[in-house]
């Protein structure tokens, strides 16, 4: 017999131990979900719509607490607290992760699928900036304007990868490197339902594609029969489109100049790493930490950002291009270059400042994993225990599709 499945909710709570009762959240809340008594400020779960308006004005950080619960805590329960209750891990396990990556089920599922290769709960780097998530949703999307749409791949290549710039004008759209945005094709599909949203990683850094502009860039590959990718790739300059997000709260860049970052990607999986590299270049150009990029494509002509990447100095970014279809040359995959750099890789992996990010096609996961294991073995490191330890400390990240 099927037991009825219980619906879980993510409840927004305020930490009474850290809160100073300044009333800013209550003043800010557009739907009057925040209230207080003589003891505590609390959030009414039946009213709160997760708009996140209260998060950034809070001076203490007490506002940003979430619990996955089967039954929401009542106002009276919250009034009586002097500490926050711990997360019920059994429920959290069923509800998926402590970091709230998105608040819409369809988007949550997409992110969950992309992070399967992690082999455990995703954890954000400790030094990462606080992401904003779910600012805009299907009910209340942001309107962006296309201000650029360029082909990145060589005209002779049959792969059409495009660099698309979206501008938000006066609308606040704060993103961090590594986050994604949601785009759904307008209208309905063949069966009369609205199109499902697709997620695209942001390819620019937090302060904009152009510094201090309120815009961002995407790297989009035109897929045969891909409804959303064709829609995006065909958008002319000046076109307006609906955007949701930002999404993602774990695949984020460490905000720490000492962090070494090993980035492994194929194709449009390079998007977040373009953001990472740009952030490092703008905010901490003399950082002590190393950036390494292992980038796989069939041929140089199909490698997005091939030209611009040539100009990035080695001091900022160590580049390892891997081509698998250059005529008369052996096929080289990212895992091959990782093996070739085994000594450097093992040395970095044994450093607790090192973070690994893998982004691209699901097919690359197995090979990369084995290459890491080989590199570790040669240096007497145990990858099978190192990997989960790195994941738990927010230093191993996977986003594949």
């Amino acid at each position: 017999m099927n037991a009825p499945t219980q619906e879980l909710i993510k409840q927004h709570l305020i930490d009474p131990e850290i809160c100073i009762r300044c009333n800013t959240c209550e003043e800010t809340c557009p739907v009057d979900a925040v209230t207080h008594d003589g003891n505590n400020y609390v959030v009414d779960a039946s009213i709160c719509n997760h708009c996140m308006d209260c998060i950034s004005p809070c001076p203490t950080g007490s506002i940003d607490n979430w619990r996955v619960v089967a039954r929401p805590y009542s106002l009276d329960e919250q009034f009586s607290w002097s500490d926050l209750p711990a997360q019920d891990e059994a429920i959290a396990g069923a509800g998926g992760g402590a970091a709230v990556e998105a608040l819409e089920d369809d988007v949550s599922k997409l992110l969950e699928e992309a992070r399967k290769g992690l082999g455990g709960k995703p954890v954000a780097p400790h030094s990462a900036s606080k992401p904003t998530v779910n600012l805009y949703n299907r009910g209340k999307p942001a309107i962006a304007t296309v201000t650029g749409n360029y082909r990145l791949t060589d005209a002779t290549s049959d792969s059409d990868v495009r660099h698309i710039i979206l501008d938000f004008s006066q609308l606040p759209f704060p993103v961090l490197e590594g986050q994604s945005i949601g785009i759904a094709v307008p209208g309905v599909d063949a069966s009369g339902k609205p199109h499902h949203p697709r997620l695209y990683s942001v390819a620019s850094s937090r302060d904009g594609e152009k510094r201090n502009a309120n815009n961002l860039a995407l790297t989009v590959k035109r897929e045969d029969k891909g409804v959303c990718s064709n829609y995006l790739c065909d958008l002319p300059r000046g076109a307006k489109l609906e955007v949701t997000g930002p999404f993602g709260a774990t695949f984020l860049m460490p905000d720490d100049p000492a962090a070494n970052i090993i980035m492994i990607c194929t194709g449009t999986g390079s998007a977040p790493f373009r953001g990472f590299t740009e952030r490092r270049r703008r905010a901490m150009p003399d950082a002590a930490g190393r950036l390494l990029l292992f980038f796989g494509a069939r041929r140089p002509e199909e490698l997005p950002y091939f030209g611009p990447l040539q100009k990035v100095p080695e001091k900022l970014l160590g580049k390892y291009f891997c081509y698998s279809r250059v005529p008369n040359e052996p096929r080289v995959y990212v895992q091959d270059r990782i093996r070739a750099e085994a000594r450097q890789i093992a040395q970095l992996l044994s450093d607790s400042n090192t973070h690994v990010y893998i982004c691209g096609l699901k097919g690359m996961e197995g090979g990369v994993d084995e290459a890491f294991a080989d590199a570790c073995r040669a240096a007497s490191l145990d990858w099978t225990s190192l990997k989960p330890a790195m994941r738990e400390s927010g230093r191993y990240h996977v986003e594949t599709y």
């Binding site: 100073i20 800013t24 308006d53 950034s56 950080g61 900036s129 606080k130 904003t132 704060p174 905000d255």
Partner: protein, 482 residues
């Protein structure tokens, strides 16, 4: 920075359409170099080239509110930000109750309003001046960053008031705006307008007490000005309140962390008696009786900021719809107060007594009572910290009559319990209730700077969480970033 080529329409984040308001833009352009000179002369000493991880508001809606990044303080984006306009807003109290809120200054109230704006404006740069040497003895980079955040926000509050002066008060306003940069905290010839803003802030404990007690007076004043029928003032103050909340946070958690550290150290050393002052001080932490004395001092100085208990000025401000009560619109009464009374603590025949006064003239008193309630809640949370550690000690706000320079009790000496004593008696017990020179010397002796990321001076506990969720060892200030 090249002042000549500053693009003011984009340089100053604003939501008052500065780029199309040529006259005000020009006035602000004229004022800005003087402001920068003031900041460089009187702002945080020795750290103007350091990179500080600061929060900047780039717009007033919640999303544009908190942009965190490293910035050199002189390059901080001071802006003019008003809470969004509510077209339907009315005057909510006084004789104009129910009229549409004013978008321009009503002629008959011009002088009164200007006075209100100038007094509020004068406090903002004053505290920056009072705190300018503290960076050099910061107990951690975290605290140093919080100090600088408070400083740049006080600077922005000055901008907010200067905008009002220049936009709505013509030539007089421009002169007042210049005078705000001319007066100096503690200066013998040209002091700041209010007493507490001419006192020194000699050490970090004083800074935390100041942000808890004195900035809380600022919060109460801003809250009652946010009720104003003059809509631009209301909108300005509403947005300033959101920033003021950060100052409350710095004060409350600052003192809380000192208490935490003292109690932890006492427990570790097996000291149960909080009055074993020398033994506790030998641990390099600040004993609880001294904490009480510091609190007595700062609370009583801050009470003076509310002015006389009975004041016709306050009544006039209210009657004219310029300055309301704390959370006016949440109070359930006629909002005119013509026939109401309010109980005021006064000195009657040498005794402290509650006396009925017309509610209108007792408005300062009422605001001060609301202030005291707000303080009490914070003190209770401090007591919780002490209680959790198991140390037996409770902090208590002193009596209203204690150590006052302004109002009913300025000519008597009263103990923190509210017992009036003779001058001779007072001289004997004064140092039991207020920090002595020795206490000050001891606190100063602890003020050794700590600038290694993640490390804290011995006399203060680390915070429960970082700013912007940063990890414990985050480098909030890159001191040598030149």
């Amino acid at each position: 920075m090249n002042i000549v080529n500053v693009d003011y329409s984009t340089k100053i984040p604003n939501n008052v359409n500065l780029s199309e308001d040529r006259q005000v833009l020009k006035a602000l352009e004229g004022w800005h170099p003087g402001y920068l000179d003031w900041w460089n002369d009187m702002g945080p000493e020795g750290f103007q080239d350091s990179l500080v991880y600061l929060r900047t508001a780039v717009s007033v809606d919640p999303k544009g509110w908190a942009k965190f990044d490293y910035v050199r303080m002189p390059e901080y984006r001071w802006g003019v930000l008003l809470a969004p306009q509510d077209e339907a807003r009315k005057v909510n109290f006084g004789q104009h109750l129910g009229e549409k809120a004013w978008q321009e200054v009503p002629g008959e109230y011009r002088a009164m309003l200007r006075r209100l704006v100038v007094v509020q404006g004068d406090t903002e740069p004053a505290s920056v001046e009072q705190q300018r040497y503290l960076g050099k003895t910061a107990p951690s980079l975290y605290d140093m960053r919080n100090l600088f955040q408070v400083n740049v926000e006080e600077g922005r509050h000055l901008w907010a008031m200067v905008y009002l002066l220049q936009k709505y008060f013509g030539r007089d306003g421009r002169e007042e705006a210049d005078d705000l940069l001319r007066r100096r905290s503690g200066d013998a010839d040209s002091p700041r307008m209010l007493g507490a803003f001419n006192e020194a802030t000699p050490d970090w404990l004083s800074f935390f007490m100041f942000t808890f007690f004195t900035d809380r007076d600022g919060k109460m004043q801003l809250e009652s000005l946010a009720q104003s029928g003059f809509d631009p003032l209301s909108r300005t103050c509403r947005f300033m309140l959101t920033e003021e909340a950060h100052h409350m946070f710095v004060g409350e958690t600052g003192v809380g962390r000192v208490l935490q550290r003292t109690c932890d150290a006492m427990k570790q050393a097996g000291i149960d008696d909080p009055y074993a002052i020398e033994k506790v001080r030998a641990l390099g932490v600040i004993d609880l009786p001294t904490m009480q004395k510091k609190m007595n001092l700062h609370y009583s100085l801050s009470l003076d900021l509310f002015g006389s208990e009975v004041s016709t000025n306050a009544a006039n401000f209210y009657n004219s719809g310029l300055k309301g009560r704390f959370q006016e619109t949440k109070i359930d009464d006629d909002h005119r107060l013509t026939n109401d009374i309010y109980k005021v603590l006064k000195l009657v025949d040498g005794k402290i007594a509650l006396v009925d006064e017309p509610a209108l003239t007792a408005l300062n008193m009422r605001l001060r009572d609301d202030y005291t309630l707000d303080c009490e809640k914070g003190v209770e949370r401090w007591n919780k910290i002490i209680e959790k550690t198991g140390v037996k000690f409770r902090l208590e706000l002193p009596h209203t009559a204690f150590h006052r320079q302004i109002g009913e009790f300025r000519d008597v000496d009263a103990t923190p319990k509210g017992v009036i004593v003779s001058a001779a008696e007072w001289a004997k017990v004064k140092s039991d209730y207020l920090p002595s020179a020795d206490d000050g010397d001891f606190i100063s002796s602890l003020m050794e700077p700590v600038s290694e990321p993640g490390k804290f001076a011995n006399w203060i506990a680390p915070p429960k969480m970082g700013i912007d969720n940063k990890p414990g060892d985050f480098e909030y200030v890159k001191i040598e970033a030149a």
